[in-house]
Every structure is written in C-alpha cells, then in structure tokens.
C-alpha cells in the first residue's frame, strides 16, 4: 500500500492532491495513517502502532483501517500502480 507521492498533507488535516486539484480533510487518526503510509510502513505496522497508542482492539482497527484504505483508493490518493499490485 503506497500513498500517491504527490499528495500534500498539512498538520491540521488538510490533504491536497495536485494531480486532480481535489482537496480533502482528514481527522488526526487519518493523518497519522497517511503519514505512516508515506513512510512506507506496512499494514501490520500501522495496526500495531494504532493498537499501541490508542484504547481500542485489533478487530476494530483492522476493520476501520481497511475501510480507510478503500476511501483512499476511491479518492485516488493511493498509487494506482501500487493498488493493482496489492
């Protein structure tokens, strides 16, 4: 899973895709995951990091992160080439 390298992310949650010109807003958890994707962390590493920091459980994190990736795909924020390979 690789985030599109052109995506600009601000600390306040503003996400901009210069390729399409579209803007997005993400909550802090969304930004954290996008930042982890930018650092090319694996899905398993992302799950572990969330579980380590937040009061939640594995089932919830797996479900929510998978759904978040679906949103990123729908918004073309994940590299299409990478997505196809995955």
């Amino acid at each position: 899973m690789k985030i599109n390298k052109h995506i600009a992310v601000s600390d306040s949650g503003f996400v901009f895709n210069p390729v399409t010109g579209e803007s997005f807003t993400a909550n802090p958890m969304g930004i954290e995951i996008i930042e982890m994707l930018k650092k090319e962390q694996t899905v398993e590493e992302i799950h572990a990091a969330v579980l380590d920091k937040y009061h939640t459980d594995n089932t919830t994190v797996e479900k929510d992160v998978a759904e978040f990736f679906e949103l990123l795909k729908n918004f073309s924020l994940i590299d299409r080439h990478e997505t196809t390979e995955n």
Partner: protein, 452 residues
C-alpha cells in the same frame, strides 16, 4: 502510559456544492448527564436501551403552562392526556400538579381510577366507549364527551335505565383554516351537526350539557387556529344561551400544541418554529374574553395538552452495535434503538447526541435500528461525530407517544426510569422478559410436542 481515546480514521472530500440533506452539524457538546446522573452509569445499571424521564422537567412544564393560561384567564383546568404517556408515575406527577385525567378508552379510564383520580375529574373522550364503559362513567359522575349520535342515544338509554342525570359535552370539529381539517371525531360545526346534537341533548331529560369540546389537530404550529376554534365554540355557547337560557360550565380546547421536535421534511428545526405555550395561551384566552360570555360567567377553560408538556421530559439512551459503509458510500451506524420502541422516528428527525466527548470531525450518517426489517431507520440523514462500537447516544424529546405506542416486536421493550427532584433514579416500568410474553400465550395440547 495511558492510551488515548480511539477515533476511527476519516477522510472527506471538500465539496463546494449546495447544502445536502444531511445538513449542518448543530450539536457541539455531548449529553453526558441527565438531571445530574451520568448516562454511562444509567446504562450500566439499567441496561441499553433505556428510557429516562425527568420529574423536574414535567413539573416545570406543567407549572409554566398553568402560569401561561392562569395569568390570562380566570378559570383554567388542565387534564392530563393519558394516551400521550400513561405510565402511572408520569400520570401521578401531573395529578399532583393539579391536572385532571383525559382518557379515550375503557382501559385508560380504569387506569385513571387506579391512579386515584375521582370519577368526576375524569374526562372521557374518544369514539369507542362500550356500554359497560359508559355505565361506569355515569355511575362515577364523569364528564362524557360525546363523539357521535349513536353514542348520544346509548348514553340517553343508559341514563334513563339508571335514572341518573349525566354530565355531557359534545366534541365539535370545525374548519379553523388549517390542513388537514380533522373532521372524523365529533360533530361538525359548519354543516350544523353540532347544533343538532346540542338540541337533542337540550331536549333530553337525563342529559345535562355542561361543556363544549374541540381538538383541532395535532402538532399545531398556528396559535391563530385555536383562536378561530375558541370563537366558534363561544358562538355555539351563545346560541345555547339565547335559545335555552342555559350557560355551559366549560370550554375544552383539547390539545395538539406542537413540541420542539422537528417534523420530517420541515425546512426549519422545531426549536425555531414551534410556538411557545404563551402564544397558544394568548390566542385562546383572548378569543374567549372577547366573545359574548357575560363577564361574571366566563366558562372554565379546560386544556388537554399532552405532547407539549411531556416530549422534552424524556430521553432514550442507546448504544452503537456497529458501523458499516453502504454501497453508495454513505456511512451507516446500527444502534440498539429500533423504531419498535422509538415510534416517533416515523414522524420526527429526532435530535440525537453522543453521550461521550467527541472531536470536531463528523460524517454524514444513516442511523439504523437493530431490527431485521428494512423499515427500521431511526434517522435517514444525520451529521454525527465518529462513534465507536459500544459508545452511547441520547435521543432527545421522546416523552410523547413512544411509551404508549411502542411495540413488542423482535426485541423486548426496555426499562423506563424516572429521575426525581433529588436526582434519585426510580424504575417506573420494568423491562419485558420472555416470561412476560409467555404468560399471555397458550399452546393447545396437540402442539406441545414435536420431533425434528
């Protein structure tokens, strides 16, 4: 290190388009406590879902309503509308505040007697009064509001048989300029039915016409319609005075005042458009005072207000079962609150607030209930903060009609608690169990056994 509160990841496209039907977020603080008691403690102790009623709010509402009318008119009497919420604890709170009982069935009549209301302070309305119901009401000297001619003849017959004078009123329906016009109950004013019924009563030796009653509609947003109704009843009273030299004792304006809920499809929220009780009071009392009643013979003004006095006193607490995404991308959240216990979700876009702190991030959401039925939709569109499984929500303004029209369907009906003036919690209705239902059922002998 203490772990942080989890919120699911969210990303939303920023669209500069027209406002959508999900609307804007309007709530910025969670509803963590009701009358000083923590929502999470209530759910922990009494289960989820749970109805919670505030005794303080009931008393405040009825006192405010009485003040609104009593400061404008010399003789006022409220009668608690049993069908709106006939839990004994609720009825008795209203009775302690001086309200009579207004009932629309034999069952409700018996409940009022059980609650200790004197028969003479029970107003018996409705189209379905059996002979047994009427006999009881006649014996108790109750006020019987006649709905149709067959009932009038039946009462006449019973009163002769019992050799008793019966105190009656007629329910009058009329055009007050609102739509839809309610003409199914009582006798019509414009076509002369009401005047005919009055004449029949006045000719009777055993019926005493003591009042005139109307109930022009429900969730009324126009105080002026009540003024029109009051003028028309006053006109009937004047005609009775002219023809029979008889003064009626009371005018009963019924109920129907809107609460602060938001009707489905309404452009503005109920909090913005529902008239205050003062506006209804001003319209009704001004019309009566300006009518032809002699100054020292103003009739008693009876009000059967239900919804406007009870809606905002009750909350329904529930929990999130799961979050899902629908095929078209919309977020859906499934709650343990279904339309079987929140009947009014068919009429209203109920205000729903999380019961725990949340961030400023929200998502357009469809709220479903737990029933395996497609109709189980609590809110079709709501802009809600992100909720995790097991977290709690509070549905506001659920005091009217839910605890009477709820259904035992698929799930069992939950507990109802009342928080008293000292913030003490009382269970006022137990939750249903399998036993409560099986107690009513009987299995024929030949169906007791089977092999699978």
């Amino acid at each position: 290190m203490e772990k942080l509160r989890y919120e699911r990841p969210l990303i939303k496209r920023l669209d500069g388009n027209m406002p959508n039907k999900f609307g804007m977020r309007s709530d910025y603080t969670p509803k963590t406590h009701i009358e000083g008691v923590a929502v999470k403690d209530l759910i922990k102790k009494y289960g989820s879902p749970l109805f919670v009623i505030s005794e303080r709010q009931i008393r405040e509402n009825i006192r405010k309503a009485r003040k609104a009318f009593e400061t404008r008119y010399p003789r006022v009497q409220f009668a608690w509308s049993y069908k709106t919420n006939y839990l004994d604890a609720v009825c008795r709170t209203f009775h302690q505040e001086g309200s009579w009982a207004e009932v629309v069935s034999g069952f409700e009549y018996d409940k009022a007697l059980h609650n200790g209301v004197e028969g003479s302070k029970i107003i018996f309305n409705g189209p379905d009064k059996s002979s047994a119901d009427l006999e009881k009401a006649i014996n108790n000297n109750s006020l019987i509001h006649i709905d149709h001619l067959d009932e009038l003849y039946k009462i006449q017959e019973l009163s002769k048989k019992q050799n008793k004078t019966v105190r009656v009123a007629i329910r009058v329906n009329m055009d007050t300029g609102i739509y839809p016009m309610w003409d199914r109950f009582g006798f019509n004013y414009e076509n002369g039915q009401a005047w005919t019924a009055i004449n029949k009563i006045m000719q009777s030796e055993t019926l005493e016409l003591v009042g005139l009653h109307t109930h022009i509609g429900t969730f009324m947003l126009s105080p002026n319609a009540y003024a029109t109704a009051a003028y028309k009843l006053a006109e009937l009273a004047r005609n009775i005075r002219l023809k029979y030299n008889h003064e009626i004792n009371y005018i009963d304006m019924g109920g129907g005042f809107a609460s602060h809920n938001t009707l489905k499809g309404a452009y503005l929220p109920g909090t913005d458009i529902s008239p205050s009780i003062n506006e209804f009071a001003e319209a009704i009392t001004t019309a009566l005072i300006n009518s032809d009643f002699p100054q020292n013979k103003l009739p008693l003004l009876i009000l059967e207000t239900g919804r406007a006095l009870i809606d905002d006193t009750a909350f329904l607490l529930g929990s999130v079962i799961t979050n899902k995404r629908l095929s078209d991308g919309r977020r859906s959240t499934i709650l343990d609150i279904g339309v079987n216990i929140l009947f009014t979700s068919f009429w209203y876009d109920h205000k729903i607030t999380p019961a725990q702190p949340f961030t400023q991030y929200t998502e357009d959401t469809v709220l479903y209930g737990p029933l395996c039925m497609n109709i189980d939709v609590v809110r079709e569109n709501i802009n809600l903060p992100l909720l995790n499984n097991g977290e709690h929500l509070v549905v506001h303004n659920v005091g009217a009609y839910n605890m009477t029209q709820w259904m035992q369907f698929i799930t069992l009906r939950p507990r109802v608690v009342m928080i008293d003036m000292e913030h003490k919690v009382h269970v006022i209705r137990d939750n249903e169990t399998l036993k409560s239902l099986l107690d009513l059922e009987h299995v024929p002998d030949h169906l007791t056994k089977f092999d699978l």
